[in-house]
């Protein structure tokens, strides 16, 4: 998996969100996006997964132009902004609904993923009754359940306790070891640098700095 952004800019209703972003991301790696709220991290993630298209520039995934050669990356899992699931369904049923589209994960894999994020797959509680932390855990499970090549996680440690943050770290390292390219947005610099192999610092929609992290 290789993602290339060439001079990508994005504006929405005359507001410039991203300006002249060029970068190259290769698997397996954890790439961190650092920046304050409103700096453009989430918009960059939406661009990477094909939900929005650039106003200028190009996004290529494995050489294919996003929005022209293909609408979305071939294998992607994402948790962007907030975990979105069906309110009346349990965690397991929600993941069943998601995995029914591509059919890449069976029930055993769903249950295993739910356990990995620290939830109980047999819990019949509907999603609407989940705590914020539980919703976040299920969101992470949804992003990794089908073992995609590209994983996009926006503020994955939101609402998580210390154990939860540790779980996220372990899971993302496992996914990298499997060969995935992980793009992680986080405003907390210590968590981000602890997890990432390289970090892009975004300020006002521009890449201000790019550095490798020594672990």
């Amino acid at each position: 998996m290789e993602i290339t952004l060439e001079h990508v800019s994005k504006s929405i209703k005359h507001a410039q969100i991203l300006t002249d972003i060029s970068l190259q991301l290769c698997a397996p790696r954890i790439v961190g996006l650092r920046g304050v709220n409103g700096s453009g991290k989430t918009m960059l993630m939406r661009l990477l997964c094909g939900l929005v298209y650039p106003t200028q520039g190009q996004v290529r995934i494995d050489g294919q132009l996003l929005g022209k050669d293909r609408s979305f990356p071939a294998s992607v899992g994402a948790l962007i902004e907030r975990p979105a699931f069906l309110d009346d369904y349990s965690g397991r049923r929600n993941l069943q609904v998601l995995t029914s589209i591509q059919g890449r994960a069976g029930l055993a894999r769903i249950d295993q993923t739910i356990r990995q994020v620290g939830l109980d797959p047999d819990d019949p509680k509907p999603f609407r009754k989940y705590s914020l932390g539980m919703k976040q855990r299920l969101g992470i499970a949804g992003a990794i359940v089908e073992q995609p090549d590209l994983i996009l996680v926006d503020e994955p440690t939101n609402a998580l306790d210390t154990d939860g943050i540790q779980m996220v770290k372990e899971l993302l390292h496992q996914e990298r070891a499997r060969g995935a390219l992980i793009v992680l947005a986080c405003h907390d610099q210590s968590i981000l640098e602890d997890l990432s192999d390289e970090v892009f610092h975004i300020v006002d929609g521009r890449i201000q700095a790019h550095y490798l992290v020594q672990h």
Binding site: I12, R46, C49, G50, L51, V52, Y53, R70, S71, F72, A74, V76, A78, E81, A84, F85, L86, D88, N94, V97, L98, S100, I101, Q102, G142, E146
Partner: protein, 281 residues
């Protein structure tokens, strides 16, 4: 992929929305009961020598779908606001308004990404919309039939011979018997086409604005007699099978089909280019 998406939409936007349909049934029942009340009131004031009126399922359906006669502003006639007719259709349009965008704000966004096809997403939403319209009309027709049975009337789409005398007909009625079946088949087709047009509009504007545009369009349909305003075809009092200078059902069907095709194509074009963000209502 399309079938998986459609099944998801049927479950989430139709089967799990039974409360919305139940509310629609309650409104439909009230509208149908208005006609029963009219006949009942008429019968109670009859002299003993005259036979009491009964009604058919066709009469009941027509009492909601009859609309108003063509309006001529020059002739200084009063404009009869088609409240019942508008309520019936606008309720349907409101019920199909929010689901596609609500879905795209939630789990639908992830599903769209996983499906890898914006076109499939749009085709599924259009199919869901058409299905919802069909279910809405099926419930309406079934309710009318049940009510006719309960009142001891005749379950037939034919109109009672007295029925058009209840209308304020300003043009020449066709001689009976009136063939009502084409109209009762056309009305859901027109509603379906205009519901798709509304759904297509939500790809450009907020759903609530698309609904306002729909309201204006339907109101304009009642004000102006024009084949370009498809709402005219959904008014029994403006159809050729009922009135001599009415609109032919066939042209209504062709127009509805053309509009559906245009909406499908426009929606495919737009959905392939639009940014999928968190939507405002």
């Amino acid at each position: 992929m399309y079938c998986k998406f459609l099944w998801f939409d049927v479950r989430q936007g139709l089967l799990r929305c039974w409360k919305k349909l139940l509310a629609a049934c309650a409104v439909m029942l009230c509208l149908l009961l208005l006609h029963c009340l009219l006949i009942y009131t008429h019968n109670t004031t009859l002299p003993p020598s005259e036979a009491a009126l009964s009604f058919t399922t066709g009469d009941l359906l027509a009492s909601v779908l009859c609309g108003i006669p063509p309006y001529d502003p020059v002739a200084q006639q009063p404009f009869l606001f088609p409240a019942i007719w508008l309520l019936f259709f606008l309720l349907l349009l409101y019920q199909v308004l929010l689901y596609p965008m609500e879905n795209l704000n939630g789990i639908g966004q992830t599903m769209l990404m996983l499906s890898k096809s914006r076109r499939v997403w749009w085709l599924s939403k259009c199919s869901w919309c058409a299905l919802y319209v069909l279910v809405y009309f099926a419930l309406f027709y079934a309710l009318a039939a049940l009510l006719t049975l309960a009142a001891g009337g005749e379950v037939t789409l034919a109109l009672s011979s007295y029925y058009p005398s209840l209308w304020e007909v300003r043009n020449e009625l066709q001689p009976p018997p009136w063939d009502t079946l084409p109209f009762f088949l056309l009305a859901p087709c027109i509603a379906c086409a205009l519901a798709l047009a509304q759904a297509t509009a939500t790809l450009w504007m907020r759903p609530i604005f698309a609904f306002f545009a729909s309201c204006l369009y339907w109101l304009a349909s009642s004000y102006f007699l024009s084949p370009l305003l498809l709402g005219n075809y959904a008014m029994m009092q403006r159809i050729q099978t009922m009135v001599s200078d009415g609109l032919p059902c066939l042209s209504g069907l062709v127009s509805a089909a053309l509009l559906c095709v245009c909406c499908l194509a426009l929606g495919c074009w737009r959905s392939a280019r639009m940014d999928i963000l968190t939507f405002d209502y």
